[in-house]
Structures are given as structure tokens and as C-alpha cells.
């Protein structure tokens, strides 16, 4: 049946429409390459087999991809009169239930993700049915919120291999109108009104490109579709062709007519076999129906399409290289002018546009250019399809109005990366683009704003990266790619990129200097300004943007030989050691324990960490978060082991011999004196290393004893004070002098300290509670969390009431809650977010729950209600609900308007702490807005040369291990500053141990330390976590896979 005229087309449309909204159930399986890659073909086969076997009466169809790749395979079901329901992650096992729903006529919402009641195809509309209130409409689930489907309007809803379905939803009407009722000029005029810009990346106005070719007289003109989507990370063109090939054909035909080109070519990269296959079928069908041919759409305009497959060269995405490729030559770009519109393929005028540009054309002609400008921004109307991939929850294709912010895309649609990982950057535009750091996420996505950041929109690839991605490695990766894809013709690109790659490789191997960074920068600039084509010109962008926004990371690789993300293998021992803020040699002590050498294992931990027993109890265990054993079963409990080592040595009294050994190693006195302000974990650590290097060290603290938060903020059931006491005592034995009950800035000025000492280390921590400032917070019985914990530790806490409410869910709040519980109170913890978002240690949360502490989630404190006598009586809270994901990776709490009352006679506010650093102004030290002290990230020097700072005072509230890690780094920097010699490594003599890698994962499942029974622990402050037995510790140590053992690089 041919579509020789509009009447015939309308007849086909009418008939075919019943196929999309049939009188019997319609089950469609999404069959794009992703869907098939995830098992959609198996599901389809199972449905077909089930249909045959059971004889259920329904239509089984294949459709394209709806775009939510992370949830593939997607299967949609339309029961007559009901909405179209999409089921997600469908497997073979789900098929019987699906068939059952089809035959019974009732949809079960369990595996349904969303529904569509009516769909606007923009060239047509279909109403499926309403109902099923428990299933959310498609555009109310986070991934689709804010999306507007113009280009992807048909994808996933029609069968891409059936031309009649395209016609059914209104396809090909626009081209019929154009070819029969409009002039080429009128078509271009409509394109001008639409202000459509090229979607390949450069954003050149499409109407102008067409106009330039239209006016050229020639005996043959060509239109080409650039479907050589080579950008790694981008695959929207693939989906556009696989799911709706006729849209592309229609667009090209309209354009060809406007420009007078009678031949068209689609150049598809060979890596897209399904797209090629679907397009071939579509072209064949279009010929059969008379859309293409000597009388296209029954008009007098002849037009036909050829398909040419690429052969694996990224540079062929550049238009002159693409044409050379079609002509059977190597794809090497040519200088322009002459532009393709004048002299292109085979020397004839040629117009090349990207797939997505062509795909926008039919809908512009169908709805009008003016309609098109109603979406997007003034200078960039319309939508763009982006591929959102990488370290984000919802991956897939999103189509949004231009001008949408990155924040919306990453956090709202992508739903971020969870609370455990922090998103650092988004890489846009492939190897021609750049990395945009998270603090620029408010930037709207359009051609100009991305250009201003040094990135480009490019083809629309968006790769999300988190803290485990190394930005230097990202730059190196892209340069490696462009260097290998460079055609080699021009020197700046060919030589420049290979030299840049050599430098970047050097940086990732710790063999580069700061001068290399300068060379890299000047190379980038030369390559950008003098390369022949856009591949070279834009290849510098990844380097330039990462240098601009992440320079410190490059410097850390060069100056410290450190790769924080744990990617550049030559720069760290292993992921556990790299993630540990103190870089403890974890595989080392595990191996030593395995070999039965307890003393050596303990010595190893003590050298790296002055408070092994303490940290083994309270650490957040960053090491375990990256342990590779997790890919087998569960991470190795590394921290629990170094606690075991310390506890065992102390129990046996054997630590003394190690202590004596370390004391004997003390360097000769240097004659330099160092003052340390703050005797918490950071101060103690700095003191520990500096005194061993021979300096005279004095620690000043405003408390009566040292320890800081570890003594005054962490109750005994988590950290018995005897452990801390013993470990601090060793530091005293090493010769560190302590001056207590002295507040610097009050009892003694910082300027005096700075004058009297050769160096000063500020480690005052962040212990000042941030008050909540709600009405009634000055009533009696309202306390601040950290302050209260301190008072309790000093045995000076006022008696708490019977019903204690605590606002907050960090470690301070939980510690206060568990303390109050042990004192006999009924405890309620009030938190404004949900359980999954709690910042406290996971083990603390577990323990608190086991102790039956009541948690009220999604409740934000509104005001404190008094009893009429000036004392707290209750807390009024505002009930919250979960809103969109925010920059912390958690869902933002949003007020519902409903309030509630929580009765209490004592209220503790523990919602955060800050640094008190006013006293540093005394010597002119710079601080940031939130009070934290500014330091050089590599030397930890403040704005005053010989004054250093570290710990929470610099980072804001963080973990004890991180504070100690900074202090260790500062100690090294201070020693170098004072002596000019690199002596730090002498404090870490190597302890030899075996290096056999276990052939198979050993040791069995993860061991867990014993815990005191709940009933025994809630009445006293006895330690809850009892640690490992010897047997457990040995077994656990043998679970280590020894990933640190590497072959020597030749």
C-alpha cells in the first residue's frame, strides 16, 4: 500500500492507530540495544512462548527505548480502557505473572514503575485510559520530572520497524505538507523562526546553514546525517535511530527539499549494528510507501537515502573527515573554506547535520517554529537529549528544555549518588568537553553558559564523577583517547597530544615536577589555538578545565605523590592504606598478625598511629569503605584488628618494650621549641611525632586533662578513659610537656606563644555547639549537646529529667542519647531527615536502636514550649516529607505544614559544632567565614609562616582519624620547616613481612566483635564493644586479599 497522497496517508493513519490502541491487550517490550543487553530479548521470547502455550489473546510488540536505561528491561502493558503501565527490571521469572495480569484484566501495581494516561506525540495524541491511582504518572517520578519529550516523543511507544505506526501518530504529515504546499524558502523561513541550533555540539543556527547551501547552484547536491556519535558516554543518537528511524528520514527529506539536494547519506558508526539494521529497514519501507523515491511523497521532488557505515575512527565525526571517509579515503580533516555548502562530497554542495538536529525538523514543521521557541531559552530554544551516566543512581537518556541547571539534572533526575559518596564533578561534551565541579552545578545547561566555564555541551554526554574518580586520571584518559584518534595530519594535535599524554602519565606515576605542569598548560594552549580541526582544538579542554578547577589534585600527585581518589596505582600501597587518613600500613600489620608476630604488628600500628586502641574503637573506618574484599563477601574489619593488637599488648604488659624501643630512637635535641595549642587527637599526634624528632614540645589545653573530644565528648561505653589515658601517657613519657587549664587567647596570648616558639601548631578543634535559635530555646532545661557531654565527662552535668528529647542525629546527639538512657531517662531522638540520611557512625546507630532509643524521623524543631514556670515542657515539631535530592546526596526535608508535640522535661540541641578561632586574629591569621583556619593544603601553614594548623579547626567537624592524619602531615611539614631536612621517614623503619598473595579468598565470612548484652549495658557505662578474640582476629587477618602486592613495573 503506497502513500501517494495525503488521503492515502490519512487512511493508513486511521487504520494503524487501532494497532496502537487496540481492542485487546497490548504488551510491548523495549528492544533497544540497552534493553537487549539487559535481557529484553529473553523476556520477549518468554512472553511469546507463554502466549502460544496459554493461548492468551493479546498483541505482543517490540518497541524502542523509553530512555530509563537503569531500569531496563521495560515492558509496557495497555489493557483496553486502562492507562499504559510500564513494568521495570522485568526478567523471565516475571513473565507468568505478567501474562496472568493480561488474561485477568487487572494490573498489579507491584512491579510497575509508572503509568501514562494520555500521550502527546506532538504530531498526534493518544488517550489510553485513566485509573490505577497507586501507580504514579510518568512525569512524577524523579527521573522524568522536568523532562519534555520532543525528540524522544515516539521512542518506547511505537514499533520502530513498522512505518505505519509512525504514520499512526502523525508522522510524515509534515513532510507531505512541506513538499506539496510549501516552497523551499518557506521551509527555511520556518526554521529561522524556530532558531534551532545544531545539536552536534557547535550550536550553529540550522536555518543559516541550510540557506548557505540552498543558494548554491549545482547539478547535484547532498544532505548528510552525521550519525558517527563517537563521544564516549553519549548514545542519544543511537537511541534516536533505533527507536524512531522514520523521524530522521522525514527530517532529512524536508531539509533536502529546502536545499535542493536529491541524494542523502546517513553515516552511521559501525559500532551501532542495531541502529544500522533498523535504519535500513526504515529506508526500505519508506521507499515502498513512496515517501522516498523519484516522486517523494507523490511530489515532483526526487530524493533517496543511502546508508554508509563507518569503520572505527572518532575523527570521522568531523564533517570534512566524514566526507573523505564516504569517498573511500582516510578520514583526515581539510581546512575550511571551502565549506561543504560550497564544495563538499565529491566536490558538490553538501549540508551536514547531526542526527538530533534532523530529528527536530519534522516537529518544527508540524507545530511551527514559534511553538518551538516556547521551550528552552531565548538564545537556545528547544530541548536537548542528554545521556546521564556514571556515578549517579538513575542513568539513562533525559530530554530537557535547554537552560535546565546541572543541579536539577544530577540531583533531581539522577537522584544523586547516595549519602556515602560525594559527587565531585560532571564531565560534559565528551573528550571535547570539560569537567565542571560541583560548586558550579547551579549553571544552566546551554551553549553559552557551558562555554563560559571552559566546557562545551557537545553531543550531550554527561558523566557524573564522585570522590573515587581522580581528576588527573580523567584528563589523562581523555588525552589518551584523543591522541590515539588524532588523524596525525597536523603537528600541534599529533605531537602536542602525545607529549601531553607523556606528561600526564608521568604525573599519575609520581614522576613529574611542577615545571611539567607549566609545560602541560602551554601545550594545551598551543594545541587549542593551532590545530586544524575541532578534534585537536577541543582536545585541550579536559586538561584545561581540570587544571582550572582541580589544580590542587595535580599538585598533590606531584608534590606529595598522593592520589586521594585511589586511582593512580603507583601512588599508593593499597586502597585501604590510601583511604586511611593516617595512611596506616594496613596490609602490613594484617600480615604480621597472620604470621603470629603480635609485637611487630602492634609496633607497626603504633608507628603510624599514636592512639591505636582509641582509634580502633571510635574510627569511621575509611579503610573498610574501600576494601576490595567487599567484592567477594564483606570488607575486612581492619580497625577492629588494630584495636585487638593494642588491647592484647596492653593486657600482657608487652607494650613497654615497644615503647622503650621508640623512646631510644629519639633524635638528638634540635634546640627548637614548638607550642601546640590543643591536646586533642590532632595535638597529641603532632606532639608524638615532633618530640621523637628531637624538638622541645609543649601542649597547651584549656581542660584539666588531654584528649579533647576523645576524653570529653565520647562516653566511656564507647571509649573507656583508661585506654586513652595509657596511650596519652606514652606521649608524655616521650618527653612532651603539658600545660593544662590554660586558654590561649585568655590566659596566654597567641602572639606571645608565636614569639617564644620556633613553630606553633593550632589544633583547637570544633567544639562550640551551634545553637538552634528557635523560640523558647533559653528556657531552663534546654542544653547544648557537646557542652553537655563535656560537663558529664567532668562529672559536673546538671541532673536531667525523666523524659529527654535530643535534636540531631550525628555522633554527638547519639552519644548524648545513649548517655541519658544509661542515667535512667526515657530518650527520644528527633531528626529532621530520614533514617537513611543520619550522619552518625552506622555501628552507633545500630547500637542505639538495640538499646531501644526512640527515634522520631522527618521532624524539624519549631519551638520549645514552657511549663509556665520558665522550664521546658515539650518540643513542638514540624512534620517533614522527603523532597528532591540536594547537594549532600540526600533528599531534602520539606515542611508539610502539620505539627506535633513531643513531651520532654529536658531538651538537648546537638545539631552541629563550629570552630572558635577568634583568638588567632591576635597574630593576623586568616580564617574563613565559618571560623575555620585557612591553611596551605600541602604544608598546613597558616598565613603566618611558622604557625601551622590542622584537625577540625581547619576542616570543620570531621573524624578523629582525619584530624590525626592532618596532624601527621603537619608534623612532617613543621620538621622540614625547622631543619630543612627530610627526616620524617626515619620514624618509620621497615618491618619485613611475607608477600604471598592468597590464591583463593581465605578466612571465611567476616568476623564481628562481641558486644555486651543490651540488658547489661544500659544500666552502666561498661564498654559495649568487646572486640575480637584471638581466634577471630587471626581469622579476620587472613581474609585480607593482599591487593598491595604488586609486580615491579619494568
Amino acid at each position: 500500500m503506497k502513500a501517494a497522497d495525503l488521503g492515502a496517508l490519512e487512511r493508513i493513519q486511521k487504520t494503524a492507530l487501532t494497532g496502537l490502541r487496540p481492542a485487546k491487550p497490548l504488551v510491548s517490550v523495549g528492544m533497544g540495544t540497552c534493553g537487549i543487553g539487559n535481557g529484553a530479548d529473553v523476556v520477549y521470547a518468554a512472553l511469546a512462548a507463554g502466549q502460544k502455550k496459554k493461548g492468551t489473546d493479546f498483541i505482543l510488540a517490540k518497541v524502542g527505548c523509553f530512555g530509563f536505561c537503569a531500569e531496563e528491561p521495560l515492558v509496557s502493558v495497555v489493557l483496553p480502557g486502562q492507562p499504559m503501565v510500564f513494568f521495570h527490571r522485568v526478567t523471565e521469572k516475571d513473565v507468568p505473572k505478567l501474562l496472568q495480569q493480561v488474561s485477568s484484566g487487572t494490573i498489579q501495581p507491584k512491579k510497575a514503575l509508572f503509568k501514562i494516561e494520555d500521550w502527546d506525540f506532538l504530531t498526534g495524541k493518544i488517550s489510553y485510559g485513566s485509573g490505577l491511582p497507586t501507580i504514579p504518572p510518568w512525569n512524577e517520578i524523579p527521573f522524568f520530572q522536568g523532562q519534555k519529550k520532543i525528540v524522544l516523543r515516539d521512542c518506547g511507544l511505537i514499533d520502530p520497524e513498522n512505518i505505519e505506526q509512525y504514520i499512526a501518530v502523525g508522522g510524515y504529515r509534515a513532510v507531505f505538507k512541506a513538499l506539496r504546499e510549501m516552497s523551499p524558502d518557506a521551509v527555511i523561513a520556518e526554521m529561522k523562526v524556530s532558531k534551532l541550533r545544531g545539536r552536534g555540539g557547535a550550536g550553529f543556527p540550522t536555518w543559516r546553514k541550510w540557506e548557505l547551501m540552498k543558494v548554491v547552484e549545482a547539478d547535484q547536491k547532498y544532505v548528510i546525517c552525521n550519525a558517527d556519535e563517537g563521544d564516549p558516554g553519549a548514545y542519544m543518537n543511537r537511541n534516536e535511530i533505533e527507536s524512531d528511524p522514520h523521524m530522521l528520514i522525514e527530517g532529512m527529506l524536508i531539509g533536502a527539499f529546502a536545499m535542493g539536494a536529491t541524494k542523502g547519506i546517513v553515516y552511521v558508526r559501525a559500532e551501532y549494528p542495531l541502529a544500522v539494521e533498523r535504519l535500513r529497514k526504515a529506508v526500505a519501507d519508506a521507499r515502498e510507501y513512496g515517501i522516498l523515491g523519484p516522486k517523494a511523497c507523490g511530489s515532483s521532488f526526487p530524493f533517496d537515502l543511502e546508508i554508509v557505515e563507518g569503520a572505527g575512527a572518532f575523527v570521522c565525526g568531523e564533517e570534512t573527515a566524514l566526507m573523505a571517509s564516504i569517498e573511500g579515503r582516510a578520514g583526515r580533516p581539510m581546512p575550511r573554506p571551502p565549506f561543504p555548502a560550497q564544495k563538499g562530497l565529491y566536490g558538490k554542495p553538501t549540508n551536514i547535520n547531526n542526527v538530533e538536529t534532523w530529528c527536530n525538523v519534522p516537529v518544527i514543521l508540524a507545530r511551527g517554529g514559534k511553538w518551538f521557541t516556547e521551550t528552552g531559552t531565548e538564545t537556545s530554544p528547544g530541548t536537548k537529549v542528554f545521556s546521564l551516566v556514571g556515578k549517579v543512581k538513575n542513568t539513562g537518556l533525559v530530554e530537557l528544555p535547554l537552560g535546565t541547571s546541572l543541579e536539577t539534572i544530577v540531583y533531581q533526575m539522577g537522584e544523586g549518588a547516595g549519602k556515602k559518596k560525594k559527587i565531585r564533578a560532571v564531565q560534559t561534551g565528551g573528550p571535547s568537553g570539560g569537567c565542571i565541579p560541583s560548586d558550579h552545578f547551579h549553571t544552566p545547561v546551554d551553549y553559552e553558559s557551558l562555554n563560559s566555564l571552559g566546557a562545551i555541551m557537545g553531543s550531550g554526554g554527561m558523566v557524573v564523577m564522585d570522590q573515587d574518580n581522580c581528576m588527573v586520571d580523567v584528563a589523562r584518559y581523555f588525552v589518551e583517547f584523543t591522541a590515539s584518534e588524532s588523524c596525525g595530519k597536523c603537528t600541534p594535535c599529533r605531537e602536542g597530544l602525545s607529549q601531553s599524554l607523556a606528561i600526564l602519565n608521568g604525573i599519575t606515576r609520581g614522576k613529574a615536577t611542577e615545571k611539567d605542569l607549566d609545560t602541560l598548560e602551554s601545550l594545551a594552549s598551543v594545541i587549542k589555538n593551532s590545530s586544524l580541526c575541532a578534534l585537536g582544538q577541543t582536545s585541550a579542554n579536559p586538561v584545561q578545565t581540570t587544571l582550572k578547577y582541580f589544580r590542587d589534585e595535580y599538585l598533590a600527585h606531584i608534590k606529595e605523590n598522593r592520589c586521594q581518589a585511589g586511582v593512580c596505582q603507583d601512588l599508593f600501597l593499597e586502597l585501604c592504606e590510601n583511604s586511611c587518613p593516617m595512611h596506616m600500613n594496613i596490609p602490613g600489620y594484617l600480615q604480621l598478625l597472620k604470621e603470629g608476630r603480635l609485637e611487630d604488628a602492634f609496633e607497626s600500628t603504633l608507628r603510624d598511629n599514636p592512639l591505636p586502641g582509641t582509634i580502633g574503637r571510635i574510627c569511621h573506618f575509611h579503610c573498610q569503605m574501600r576494601c576490595r574484599r567487599e567484592t567477594v563477601d564483606a570488607p575486612v574489619s581492619q580497625g577492629e584488628i588494630h584495636r585487638y593488637l593494642a588491647d592484647t599488648m596492653y593486657k600482657m604488659g608487652k607494650e613497654k618494650q615497644i615503647y622503650d624501643k621508640i623512646i631510644k630512637e629519639k633524635h638528638d635535641p634540635t634546640g627548637k621549641s614548638i607550642a601546640i595549642v590543643g591536646g586533642g587527637p590532632a595535638g597529641l599526634t603532632a606532639a608524638y611525632y615532633l618530640v621523637r624528632l628531637g624538638h622541645k614540645v609543649t601542649v597547651y589545653d584549656n581542660h584539666a586533662k588531654c584528649g579533647g573530644i576523645t576524653r570529653y565528648g565520647i562516653p566511656n561505653y564507647r571509649l573507656p578513659s583508661e585506654v586513652l589515658e595509657k596511650e596519652a601517657d606514652f606521649i608524655r613519657k616521650l618527653g612532651v610537656k603539658f600545660v593544662f587549664n590554660t586558654t590561649i587567647g585568655k590566659d596566654l596570648s597567641l602572639s606571645v606563644l608565636a614569639k617564644d616558639n620556633d613553630a606553633v601548631f593550632l589544633a583547637v578543634g570544633a567544639q562550640k555547639d551551634i545553637p538552634l535559635s528557635i523560640p523558647g530555646d533559653s528556657l531552663k532545661g534546654v542544653y547544648l549537646g557537646y557542652e553537655l557531654l563535656e560537663l558529664f565527662a567532668k562529672k559536673k552535668m546538671p541532673p536531667l529529667g525523666e523524659n529527654v528529647a535530643i535534636v540531631g542525629a550525628g555522633n554527638v546527639a547519639i552519644d548524648m542519647a545513649r548517655t541519658a538512657l544509661r542515667l535512667g531517662a526515657n530518650v527520644t531522638v528527633v531528626y529532621r531527615r530520614d533514617k537513611a540520611s543520619m550522619p552518625a557512625n552506622e555501628s552507633e546507630i545500630e547500637d542505639a536502636e538495640a538499646e531501644a532509643i526512640r527515634f522520631v524521623f522527618m521532624a524539624s524543631p519549631n519551638k520549645v514550649i514552657g511549663d509556665g514556670n520558665g522550664r521546658v515542657h515539650a518540643l513542638e515539631i514540624m512534620k517533614m516529607k522527603l523532597g528532591p535530592t540536594d547537594a549532600s546526596g540526600r533528599r531534602k526535608p520539606v515542611a508539610t505544614g502539620e505539627t506535633d508535640i513531643i513531651a520532654c522535661d529536658s531538651l538537648v540541641i546537638a545539631t552541629g559544632e563550629r570552630v572558635e578561632s577568634g583568638f588567632v586574629k591576635d597574630v593576623g591569621i586568616k580564617t574563613r567565614g565559618n571560623g575555620t583556619i585557612e591553611v596551605n593544603p600541602f604544608t598546613l601553614q597558616t598565613s603566618v609562616d611558622h604557625v601551622f594548623a590542622g584537625g577540625d579547626a581547619v576542616s570543620g567537624p570531621a573524624t578523629a582519624a582525619e584530624a590525626m592524619g592532618q596532624a601527621k602531615k603537619a608534623a612532617e611539614a613543621i620538621d622540614y620547616y625547622l631543619t630543612g631536612e627530610r627526616r620524617f621517614h626515619s620514624l618509620f623503619p621497615k618491618i619485613a613481612y611475607g608477600n604471598q598473595v592468597p590464591a583463593q579468598p581465605e578466612g571465611g565470612p567476616r568476623n564481628y566483635g562481641r558486644k555486651t548484652a543490651v540488658k547489661d549495658r544500659i544500666k552502666s557505662f561498661v564498654e559495649v564493644a568487646q572486640g575480637f578474640t584471638g581466634e577471630q582476629a587471626h581469622r579476620e587477618a587472613s581474609r585480607c586479599l593482599r591487593c598491595d602486592v604488586k609486580e615491579e613495573r619494568k
Binding site: A313, S325, T395
Partner: protein, 172 residues
């Protein structure tokens, strides 16, 4: 290598292909791809290239320029099984480098890859390992194709299991 293996695609077949592609756009690329595909070892022996040059009257130097420029063309016999690891951005971000390295180690091609060779074929001709810049399956990264079948969300463990099975002569 035996002469019979070098010129596996019969001349008559090549003639037919040339006739089919004719002087159409992209003819040379398409012709070379098909000639390679029809070769049992999926490569283009010199004899085939010489023959094509003679029949199409395209200079051998141009044909040589094309087959060495485009990564799709193989001038050496390929292994029975082909393993292609995607090294696109999304796959790289999700750790495809480590996957590539572990497969290379398994097959004995680590040194070759380090030196920048685009592909590695085991001496017994059973496996060829290569990379592709991007399969366009980014939402399902990391992606590896084994004998043309795309596997998504690949982990080192799963992949090595599959490869070990293949090495022992099983099916994927």
C-alpha cells in the same frame, strides 16, 4: 602461514561484492568491511587487498591508507573468540581499565597492551582482546562484548568466570 589460509575469500565472491557496492558512496569502506567479515579469520590478507585494487582500479596505496587508518580493519588473523572491552568515559569511570588489565593478564597480553598495541591475539589464535572507544551503552557500564554479544554491568569476577569457561572450550 599456508597459502590457502591467506586468500580464504574466493575471488568470485569478491567480484560479487564489488559489483554490489559499485560506485556508491562509502563503497570502499563497505566493501572492505564485508571482505573482512567473509574471511574466516576476520582479517584482510595482502592478496585480498591486491585483488580489490586491481578490480576497482583504486590504487593500493589508497586502500592501504584506509585499512591502516580505520581501527576496524585487521591486517593480521584474529582469534576465534573476540573480546572487546569498552573504554568509553562512563565505562572508564566505573572501572573498565581494571577489567581490561585483568583480561589481558589472563590471556598473556599485558605487555602488548602496555606498549600501546590496539589489540592482542593469543598465540594459539583462540582469543583476540581489543578495546573500543565507546559502544554507546553507557547507562549499563562497564560493558564488554564477547563474540559480538554485549554484556552489561560487567564485574571482573563475572567476566573472568565466563572467559575461563570459554578457555576450557565451553560456550559463553
Amino acid at each position: 602461514m599456508e597459502k590457502s589460509l591467506q586468500m580464504w575469500v574466493p575471488e568470485k565472491k569478491v567480484d560479487e561484492m564489488i559489483g554490489r557496492f559499485g560506485g556508491n558512496p562509502g563503497a570502499l569502506l563497505g566493501l572492505l568491511e564485508e571482505a573482512q567479515g567473509q574471511n574466516r579469520y576476520r582479517y584482510l590478507p595482502k592478496e585480498t587487498l591486491d585483488y580489490i585494487s586491481k578490480k576497482t582500479e583504486i590504487p593500493l596505496s589508497q586502500i592501504y591508507s584506509v585499512v591502516t587508518f580505520y581501527s576496524f580493519f585487521n591486517l593480521k588473523p584474529q582469534g576465534e573468540h573476540s573480546i572487546v572491552v569498552c573504554r568509553g568515559t562512563a565505562c572508564h569511570t566505573k572501572g573498565s581499565k581494571a577489567i581490561l588489565e585483568s583480561v589481558a593478564r589472563l590471556l598473556g597480553g599485558s605487555e602488548s597492551l602496555e606498549e600501546g598495541e590496539p589489540s592482542f591475539t593469543t598465540p594459539d589464535n583462540r582469543f583476540t582482546l581489543r578495546t573500543v572507544a565507546c559502544f554507546g551503552q553507557c547507562a549499563l557500564s562497564p560493558v564488554v562484548s564477547i563474540d559480538g554479544v554485549i554484556h552489561s554491568n560487567v564485574t571482573e569476577g563475572k567476566l573472568l568466570k565466563t572467559l575461563n569457561r570459554l578457555m576450557k572450550g565451553g560456550k559463553r
